[in-house]
């Protein structure tokens, strides 16, 4: 008994509709005889049987669609039919041809923690060289644009080629060494009466929901930004013997990391913000810093740095400038301290604010001007809104 199958009539034929049987069960048939008609995309085609015999059974009803190779009928072959050579299994070449018949089901993708968005713009050649040298690209000072091979040139002299155990430590060490070596620092400080500002802030916050409350840190940053707007010389860079003043005020905010270490991501375009948005941006920045989700620009575009170690009890900070910036503002702890008002001695909330400046870019007069402005602003906190 043999099967009469739906024939392949073309390379792109997948199936056809059996339209009509031209024989019935029990009919004798001859090799080459047309026994059915099938409808294809190109029209109705007659199909033939390839052996002599008798139709034993019709397996498919008319008007049924069948894929190529589907058995359509059983043929009881005559004994005299020549034995067909048995098809030995020939090892087919290992070509995996995927022929999807149905839409592939979408695979459930496990949502992993997305990788940190830190991506410095660097050319492929620079990346590779940095890798070879064990240099963390993040440590290269916020150059404007993309890091290229020549930017790595200066580093090749300073490096010993061991694997960096603590990349950040090494990076900081490098930056600070450079700062100390290259930048002639001058240091200024001022004591600021924070009582009015804090009182005002307390008032403001009492009328607000917890989510909308402003932290003192935000108030201080806001004040620094406004002061810099009036003394822009401190907001910029020293590069190639040139003092470049940055239009954008992007204060790097020193944030302590849980596992140790300090990072100073920038609050970008702080000059565009108000007190509320400063607070929101600060909050967001701290959150993302701790979650390791900073943007490249936040790591490289600082135009000045604010370090506030007040939490740790330090009253006065003598900061080291991060090159190529030209200033770093230090804010100490707000403490209850004796304060003279007129002739009377009283106790006020006092904070030491310091300014370390690059003497190549500015002199003490500028620094003093800045600190004075800062002080003034904090005495009129309502202007900080």
């Amino acid at each position: 008994m043999s099967e009469f199958k739906m024939p392949s009539l073309g390379a792109d034929m997948e199936s056809a509709v059996l339209m009509e049987w031209l024989v019935k069960e029990g009919d004798p048939i001859q090799k080459g005889q047309i026994i059915a008609e099938v409808e294809t995309s190109k029209g109705v085609i007659e199909i033939e049987v390839f052996e002599d015999g008798v139709v034993e059974k019709l397996l498919v009803e008319p008007e049924t669609e069948c894929t190529v190779g589907t058995p359509l009928a059983l043929i009881r072959s005559e004994g005299s039919a020549k034995k067909e050579p048995s098809a030995k299994t020939v090892s087919t070449p290992e070509v995996k041809v995927s022929a999807p018949k149905t839409e592939a089901k979408p695979v459930q993708i496990q949502k992993k923690e997305p990788a940190p968005e830190v991506r410095i713009k660097a050319s492929p050649a620079a990346r590779r060289k940095a890798q070879e040298l064990g240099v963390d690209l993040n440590t290269l000072a916020p150059e404007v644009g993309t890091i290229q091979l020549k930017d790595l040139d200066t580093l090749t002299q300073d490096l010993d080629k061991g694997p960096s155990i603590d990349g950040m430590r090494q990076a900081i060490a490098k930056a600070m060494s450079r700062s100390n070596a290259e930048i002639p620092h001058y240091y200024l400080s001022v004591s600021i009466n924070m009582t009015p500002a804090l009182a005002w802030l307390g008032e403001l916050n009492s009328k607000r929901s917890i989510k909308e409350r402003i932290l003192p840190a935000a108030l201080l940053i806001r004040a620094v930004v406004l002061a810099l707007a009036e003394v822009p010389e401190l907001n910029g860079f020293w590069q190639n013997d040139n003092h470049l003043i940055s239009k954008a005020i992007n204060p790097g905010i020193a944030i302590a990391l849980r596992k140790g270490g300090l990072i100073t991501p920038a609050l970008l375009d702080a000059q565009e913000m108000n007190l509320d948005t400063t607070m929101q941006s600060l909050d967001d920045l701290i959150t993302r810093t701790r979650a390791n989700k900073l943007r490249g620009s936040e790591i490289t575009q600082q135009s000045v740095t604010i370090t506030n170690l007040g939490d740790l009890g330090v009253e006065r900070v003598y900061g080291v400038i991060y090159p190529p910036q030209v200033a770093i503002v230090g804010l100490g702890r707000i403490i209850d301290a004796p304060w003279a008002e007129g002739d009377a001695l009283t106790v006020r909330k006092v904070m030491q604010a310091t300014l370390s400046g690059d003497h190549r870019a500015t002199d003490g007069r500028i620094g003093a001007l800045f600190l004075d402005k800062l002080n003034q602003l904090l005495q009129r906190p309502q202007e900080l809104l």
Partner: protein
């Protein structure tokens, strides 16, 4: 041409071999053993067999994608053609060509071309170079009525006559270019007349009668050998099956096919042999059996063939040796 028993056996055997080979190919294609395109020669056997008879092994043959008849009549073993269609390395083109691209250096069989009229310019070049090399041999170029529409047909005929090239042009006019009848494609449907317009020695032949074809071919070849330039034979023939396997034949009537089946070249030849009393001497059953065995062997050969290793994929793109 004198028809004797030897010749009668040769013609009958060759035509029957082609017929049975094609029938087997249908079955194998239906069972997905042969893939791609399959263009069958049933009904046109007399043309290939008749023309090949007039050629010597030294001559060159250029054929179309409907070439099984030419390939078999030329002497390419059935098993190598079958293996080729199975995609096996034992095929005459190492499985690289398939049904439409049969090549065989030994019999000077230069394919097998899937572009209609694509081989005519090649024929011009082969004949031109034969002349240059002072080789007195013939280049035969088979093509269908469809080729007459292509620019290359006209360019090639013009060059062949202009340069007096030893080409035998054989137009197998089966009246249809795939699904379009000749009357819908040619302003002048008498193809031999069009060829004559190029000052080509042009003749129309009954393509269903192998004796007539053979006689015309013999005459053409001797004319070419005599240096009288190219010859054009328009063989009026018919294909009993569709253009290719996947063709519903919506473009022609069943009655027309039936009519032409009355002129089946096997039957026509039988009649011609009856006239001379040779038919009774033909041992039909013996021939059928031998052919059946041959074809079974060919299928077995193909089934048991091997596939070219994938690591050889990038072979045969460039010929390696550079002469300096």
């Amino acid at each position: 041409m004198t028809m004797d028993l030897t010749l009668a056996n040769k013609f009958y055997t060759q035509m029957l071999l082609i017929r049975r080979f094609e029938e087997k190919s249908v079955e194998l294609y239906s069972n997905e053993k042969i893939r791609g395109f399959l263009h069958l020669y049933n009904g046109e056997e007399a043309v290939a067999v008749g023309v090949m008879h007039a050629l010597s092994l030294d001559d060159a043959v250029l054929a179309t994608y409907r070439e099984h008849g030419q390939a078999l009549a030329r002497g390419i073993p059935a098993k190598n053609i079958m293996a080729e269609m199975y995609g096996k390395v034992e095929g005459c083109s190492r499985g690289r060509g398939g049904s439409m691209h049969l090549f065989d250096a030994q019999t000077r069989f230069y394919g097998g071309n899937a572009i209609v009229a694509g081989a005519l310019p090649l024929a011009v070049g082969m004949a031109l170079s034969d002349k240059m090399m002072n080789k007195n041999r013939v280049t035969v170029c088979f093509f269908g009525d469809g080729a007459v529409a292509e620019g290359e047909f006209h360019e090639s005929l013009n060059l062949a006559v202009l340069w007096e090239l030893p080409i035998l042009f054989v137009c197998e006019n089966n009246r249809y270019a795939m699904g379009t009848a000749l009357e819908f494609t040619q302003s002048e449907t008498d193809i031999s007349k069009k060829a004559a317009a190029y000052r080509l020695s042009s003749h129309q032949v009954d393509g269903m009668d192998v004796i007539k074809v053979a006689e015309a071919a013999e005459q053409a070849v001797s004319q070419i050998h005599a240096g009288k330039g190219p010859v054009f034979l328009e063989c009026l023939t018919y294909r009993f099956r569709a253009h290719s396997m996947f063709d519903a034949e919506l473009y022609r009537e069943k009655e027309e096919v039936q009519q032409w089946k009355e002129k089946d070249p096997l039957r026509v030849f039988e009649d011609r042999l009856e006239e001379t009393g040779l038919w009774s001497k033909i041992k039909v059953k013996e021939i059928e059996d031998k052919i059946s065995d041959l074809i079974s062997e060919a299928v077995e050969f193909a089934e048991n063939g091997t596939y070219e290793p994938l690591s050889d994929l990038e072979k045969f793109v460039y010929s390696p040796e550079v002469t300096s």
